[in-house]
Structures are given as structure tokens and as C-alpha cells.
């Protein structure tokens, strides 16, 4: 730092980018908006609306309260499907990780689950459960379960047996073994599964809503398509994306930094 600040103008400019990392992100977002605005000026708004009318509409749907209603519906489906898949996958994944017979037995189920397209599951679920909350929740569960399970199996197989043996030598009971030894080692895998699972859950939820439900973000995008309002399609998509980003940067990243902080420790 010292040496760069005492050197040339160019180096000083470069160090500003390094000193304040959010600046780079802001510049990136701003560049995207500028490019969007520039391209949109060549097209009619019905085909490609510019960022200004779209963000005006985003503001409108936020203020009107409609966004909260539909986002809430989508959020509920994602939450229910995800939580169900998460806990069942943890149990199944640990079981498969420690038991080779179970590992082989459930492997085809996982492979099939990973292969069937989520769109197919959405259609099947709608035909089974009709227009109900059960359909999207089931779809999200069935799509996420194999994915999260695979992560947990990997995490379980990667457990450090030497540390587990140490805990046994010191007579740690089952509760301590799980809380202090096993779970902390699974956390990175669970976080990866959470991030990946949630991002997939949103997409699945939106597809299910688009296909056959009467509320939720997916429904509103479909509805906007029905009235052929490109501004609304963009506005709902962007509003939804903003919530996702807030979740990623406001919740997931800080949690990750907290629980995996020990890895960043550097030897001196």
C-alpha cells in the first residue's frame, strides 16, 4: 500500500479499485444498465423496454403491494419444498455416506432424480395434485432432494476419521461427537447445497407457477406475457432477482463467512 501510494498516478488509480471492492461491483452494474439503455434505444418498448421505464414499474409493483403478495406465495412454496428436501437429504446423505450398501441402493434413485428435467416433474406434479400448493412444493422437493443428498454424501465420506478417533479416545459422547466433530465438518457441504438448492428452487417454483397456478412470481410473468406487456415481464423478473440477490448477499454470504472463518486463519 505504502509503496503504491508513493508511486505514479496510474498506480494510485488502480489502488482505489483495490481498496474499495464494492466500487468494482457498482461499476459493473452501472455498465450493464448503460449497455441495456443503449441497446433499448434502438428497439420499440414493446420489444425491449429500457431500464428507466422498467425500474419505474418495479417501483410501482413494490408500492402497490402486489409484489409482496406474489413474492410471499413463491417464497412459501420454495421454503416448504426446500426445508423438506434439506432435512430428508441430510438424513439420507449421512446414511448413504456411512453405509456402503445404502450408498449403492440409493445411487440409481439419485441418478434418475438428477436426470429427469424439472419441467417434467412440474407437469407430472400438476397432473397428480392439480392446481394446489402441493404441486409446486412436491416438484421443488423432488428436484432438490437428489442434489442436496449428493452433497451430504460427499461431505460424510470426507469426514476426518482421525479426528473422530481422537474424540472417541477422549470419550466424547454421541452429542458432542455430532455437535463438535461431525456437523462442523459438514457445514461447508451444507452451505454449498443450500446455495445451489435455493437457486434451483426459485427456478422450479416459477416454472410450476407459470404452468398452472394463479399467484406467485411465475404466474405474474405469465400474466404479463398474456397481456403482452414487456415492461411488466421485465419488472417482475428484476424485482424477483433483487430479492434473490438480497438473500445471497444479506444472508447466505454473511452466514458462510461466520461459520467457515476458521479456514481463513493463516499461519504466522
Amino acid at each position: 500500500m505504502k509503496s503504491s501510494s508513493s508511486s505514479t498516478e496510474g498506480a494510485q488509480g488502480a489502488s482505489l479499485w483495490r481498496r474499495w471492492p464494492p466500487l468494482v461491483y457498482l461499476a459493473s452494474v452501472f455498465a450493464m444498465l448503460v449497455v441495456w439503455h443503449a441497446i433499448a434505444s434502438f428497439f420499440p418498448p414493446s420489444l425491449l423496454p429500457g431500464p428507466i421505464p422498467v425500474f419505474q414499474r418495479v417501483g410501482e409493483i413494490f408500492v402497490s403491494g402486489r409484489f409482496a403478495v406474489h413474492m410471499g406465495a413463491t417464497l412459501m412454496r420454495v421454503g416448504a419444498g426446500f426445508v423438506l428436501a434439506f432435512f430428508i437429504s441430510i438424513a439420507l446423505g449421512i446414511f448413504m455416506g456411512v453405509n456402503p450398501v445404502a450408498d449403492r441402493f440409493f445411487e440409481p434413485e439419485i441418478v434418475v432424480g438428477l436426470t429427469v428435467p424439472s419441467l417434467a416433474w412440474s407437469v407430472i406434479a400438476l397432473m397428480w395434485f392439480g392446481i394446489s400448493e402441493l404441486a409446486p412444493i412436491f416438484t421443488i422437493f423432488i428436484v432438490l432432494q437428489p442434489l442436496i443428498t449428493v452433497n451430504v454424501v460427499q461431505g460424510t465420506k470426507a469426514l476426518d476419521h482421525e479426528v473422530i478417533e481422537m474424540a472417541k479416545a477422549f470419550r466424547a459422547d454421541r452429542a458432542m461427537m455430532i455437535r463438535d466433530v461431525v456437523i462442523p465438518q459438514l457445514v461447508p457441504y451444507l452451505l454449498a447445497a443450500t446455495r445451489f438448492g435455493l437457486s434451483l428452487a426459485w427456478k422450479v417454483a416459477v416454472i410450476a407457477e407459470l404452468l398452472g397456478l394463479s399467484n406467485g412470481i411465475g404466474y405474474m410473468i405469465h400474466y404479463s406475457f398474456g397481456i403482452f406487456s414487456m415492461v411488466d415481464v421485465f419488472a417482475w423478473t428484476i424485482a424477483f432477482t433483487l430479492v434473490m440477490l438480497a438473500l445471497e448477499y444479506g444472508v447466505l454470504k454473511p452466514v458462510e463467512a461466520r461459520v467457515t472463518g476458521w479456514r481463513r486463519a493463516v499461519a504466522f
Partner: protein, 255 residues
Amino acid sequence: MQISLRGIHKEFPRQTGGRLPVLRDVSLTVGAEEFCCVVGASGCGKSTILNIVAGLTLPDAGQVLVDDAHLDSSRLRIGYVFQKPRLLNWRSVRDNVAFALRAAGASAAQARGKALHYLAMVGLDQFADEFPLALSGGMQQRVAIARALAIEPDLLLMDEPFSHLDEMTARTLRAELLRIWEQARKPVMFVTHNALEAVYLGDKVLILSGRPATILKSVQVELPRHREMEDPRLVELQREILHTLGIMPVNAVRH
């Protein structure tokens, strides 16, 4: 408290089928205040002996006796120092020591207080709140030693605890270990492939044969404490041990 092994046999299944005999009729006794070293070639089954004493591995035949009564392994309080530190890298240094204390039945508050005391004993109390990965290998191994001592064990098991460290660090830690041991005077089983280390530390050195391991010889180290590694009498004992192991040249094995 005295620990005895009587006629221990142990085989392990091989990956390729068949069985690999590791221990054959191993009998030994560690006296109440005795520092007992076990020397043998790498992979000869030294660690298996410690694991059997700790109750982590069951012998195929033979018994582990505590004061000549059958071992109730869940009752015996064992401090185990492994070849690698085997710390919980996701817990602070202090919580690593406290972990062993809580496993031994201490309350959380008690454990944290005592942990700090034992960290001070190995000179690491200023590092109590660091994560283990922020420490050097030698410091991590000190944490492992503090963890084993903190529970005030009935028996201390050490499995080549200094073999992964550079010789300078190893020397310091050996001297520190002896200093602490002389205060507590608990039975110690110290496994090593370093004959000089064994005669420097031990009251008694047991020499193991190659696989399947059996005890070839027991050497009593009569030299008074506060020994020097370079003491010619230690070097002579080392030569005797290496000879028993079938290693002739004087300076063939130093590590």
C-alpha cells in the same frame, strides 16, 4: 496405577483378502510412575498397541489389565497424543482443550478455565482464542499435549508425537514434556521409531520386532533425569537398541 498387557494378539483383514497378523503375544507392564517407551520400525504395529490400550481397537486375544483387574476402558481416563495434532480446526485453541475436559465430564465454565491453565503450561495461553490453523505445526502439537494433560489422565498415550516436527522443536517439546511429567508422574506409554528419543525420555524401553510385532527385549534406562541427548551413555544404549532391531551401522538411523 499400573497397566499391563497380557498375551495380546491382533490381526487385520487385508484389502486383498486373507489376514495380516500385526501383534503376536505382546505382554508388557507400565508401572505406576513409569515412562515407558516402545521402539520399533514404522508400520510394525506400535500404534495398534496404543489403540488397544485406549479401547479404540479390540484385541483378538489377550487382556489389558489395570492394577491386575480387568480393564473397564470407559472408566479409565486416557490422554492420547497422536502423531498429528488431530485438533478440531473449527474450534479455538482453548475450546480444543476444553473439548477433552467436557468429554471427561467437566462443566463448560470449568473446562474453559482449566483449558487456559494447561495452555499456559505449554506456553500458549496468549494463543487461546486463535484457530488451530493459525498456529505452526509445533504449536498445534503443544495444544494436543495440553489437551491430553488437561484431563489429568490416569495414563498418557503418545504415538510418535514429535516425529512430524523439526529436530529443534522436537527437542524443546521433549524437554517440556519431561518437565511436566515430573510434576504429575503418571504412567506414560510413548511409541517412537527414534531409539535415541526413547532412551532420552524413558525409564524403560521396549523393543518391538517387525510384523507381526512381539517384544524382543526390555531395556532399563538407569541414567538419572535431566539427561543430555548427546550423553555417550545414551548413545551407547541407542546402539544396543538398534543392534537388537538388526540395524548395525552406528549412524544409520537418526530419525
